[in-house]
Symmetry: none
Subunit: 213 residues, 4 copies
Amino acid sequence: MISNEEVKERRKARQINQKDRILQAGEKIFARKGFHLATLEEIARDADLAKGTIYLHFLNKADLFVSVIEKKLNILLKKIKEVVREEGPPVEKIRKVTEIHLRFLEQNKNFFKILHSLPGEHKREMEKELTERVIKKNASYLGIIQKLIEEGIKRKEIKPLNPRKLAVILVGMVHSLTINWISCNEKYSLSEDHNLAWEIFWKGARLDSFNKR
Amino acid sequence: MISNEEVKERRKARQINQKDRILQAGEKIFARKGFHLATLEEIARDADLAKGTIYLHFLNKADLFVSVIEKKLNILLKKIKEVVREEGPPVEKIRKVTEIHLRFLEQNKNFFKILHSLPGEHKREMEKELTERVIKKNASYLGIIQKLIEEGIKRKEIKPLNPRKLAVILVGMVHSLTINWISCNEKYSLSEDHNLAWEIFWKGARLDSFNKR
Amino acid sequence: MISNEEVKERRKARQINQKDRILQAGEKIFARKGFHLATLEEIARDADLAKGTIYLHFLNKADLFVSVIEKKLNILLKKIKEVVREEGPPVEKIRKVTEIHLRFLEQNKNFFKILHSLPGEHKREMEKELTERVIKKNASYLGIIQKLIEEGIKRKEIKPLNPRKLAVILVGMVHSLTINWISCNEKYSLSEDHNLAWEIFWKGARLDSFNKR
Amino acid sequence: MISNEEVKERRKARQINQKDRILQAGEKIFARKGFHLATLEEIARDADLAKGTIYLHFLNKADLFVSVIEKKLNILLKKIKEVVREEGPPVEKIRKVTEIHLRFLEQNKNFFKILHSLPGEHKREMEKELTERVIKKNASYLGIIQKLIEEGIKRKEIKPLNPRKLAVILVGMVHSLTINWISCNEKYSLSEDHNLAWEIFWKGARLDSFNKR
DNA sequence: AATGAATGAGTCTTCATTCAT
DNA sequence: GATGAATGAAGACTCATTCAT
């Protein structure tokens, strides 16, 4: 005999599962076709659901799109914030964050494709606020790197250059390597590129007087 | 009295002029709205032409889009190839190329916006070959940098790292700085960032034993 | 201890109560939004029930719509038939019926709004029979007035004009006054208009030779 | 040889013709199905045009709907205003206006069906302003009758009753007769009913002391 | 050559209805 | 009985593309 409570819990579990399936299908299709060419029809089919069901979980196409990104971005940010909270010198943290970032992109290339297409995927006026939300969240990642760099500069480990731009450069390197990896059909391990990126950035940005390892 | 020759030439001139106006309007509108949200109606209006006229010069919307990019890319590539043909050490050429690249992006931010949106602007199957064309041309820029780096490595000026990836990293830095510049509403001179990018890249990539300036 | 009988009765009572709540909610929402813009979702919410429950009592949306009207129409017809059964001259009965009609509309403006929208709320082919039902019932009201007028003519109290059309005219006056009352935001007492309607109709329709009051 | 001017004029003429065909198709289909059940697809088919063409002439479905009504209403109002401008006693004008009104409805029953369904055809919030426009125009007809009645009262030809409500009653009679005529499948001449309506209204509303004709 | 009116395929979104629980 | 999650049919609207003038 199944209690009423249990029934409700099962339903809820199924729903969460369903929402997740939609998000996954969304990630896949949006990555493959971009926002405009992806159709809810196709996403629903991929999630093995009816079109209308998507609207039980999301306001509209744009909301689904943003939710797909936000979900992944939250996971990445959580991982990164964990590293930042650890003890240790900021430079080491930056290295670790870069490593995590690349590993995450390697495992979530669909997400990366969507994220990278974000600025190009112009939205209709009414959908802008949604995009805004994601762009802010994305920017917060840059802010974390920037803070670590500022600390590194304070500790005389990093050259006193514009910390914002140094962060921009580091992230740019990571993204560019990811694009290259994807355009090579992921024939090598992206996270291994971490050493290369770090070599260039660290040798380039460290304060020359700082004790070289 | 106007000769037959002259009439033909004038016509041709007008047509070229017309085509150029469409390309310029396309650059503007595509940059503002992205591929899918830009309408031929609006582009035609901006070019002060009728919608149908666009089809006298371009196959379709995608062709116009790609042509807008190609035209600019050709200009950039021409400038860069000039530098490459000059005498001098490859490292210096790389520096110059980077400088030219940033200056070009500063003066053509519309173009950059479109270029950056390219991976996201997926096309329908039949239009893929068009996009291919641009991606190849864009890649040829990367190839130039790569060759210069290979030479630098041969001359023991640059560390014997993967030249392709070093090129990727350098271009990634440039793009990332450009994105940052645009997201700051272009409040500073982008070409000044050239020094920063070069500082990081060069300090990071030069062979330590190489004579430091 | 509750008897089996009692349990059944309670259930039935609850059901009737439920059905009535749906009818009331329907009256409210249909009046506010019209047939097409009213949603079963909203009606269910207003009746504090689940959407599916409506289908335990009604065939479909159209059936509910028609039932809402029929229920009210039955109440009105019952009241009117009572008056008709009374002793007295037909002309006096007509006056009373008109009075009751206006008072009823005053107290049931939701219903009136729905009724008046009926001709405009065209149904899909398969739902026509439902609408037929209501239209017939509505017509039966007209028939009652007509019969009274016929009698009045026979008794030489009313001019020997087309009794059907006289009935149509009288009902038209009543409806028109009601529309006016609603469009004035019900700022006055509608049933007071009864005197005016009667004055015009009676003075206009009475046989001149008939003893003037 | 056809001049450029001529080409333009022909085009314009064709367009006006086209717009009119859409309006006529709209009148027909809206009358048959009501606002919500009428589809642009069907209207376009009936006008022998493609769906998209409707949008070259009207903003959207609601705009077409309102335009259908407005067009007819303008014609009716024009006719009525002509009568009002004539010389003569107000009572006679009212009689004439009523006659014109009935004749117009007889010849435009589609229009009448739409007009009568108007209050029931609730619109979405954004479409309300459109409906507003029509309701006002429709009300202006009532205003004209009201003014004539006021004059009649001043001239001691009509009883000093509420002129607004007298107008409401007269219009209600006319509408009700029209509904009856339609529900009888238009088997008789509606404009003949004019005499009946006038008989009732005039005998009912005239000041008893006024010289009886 | 140049135009822009006409087209109709394509897609988001809503909501009555069903049915497993 | 009662629920409300899931469905999918239906329709307004947009816009690239065509073609008569």
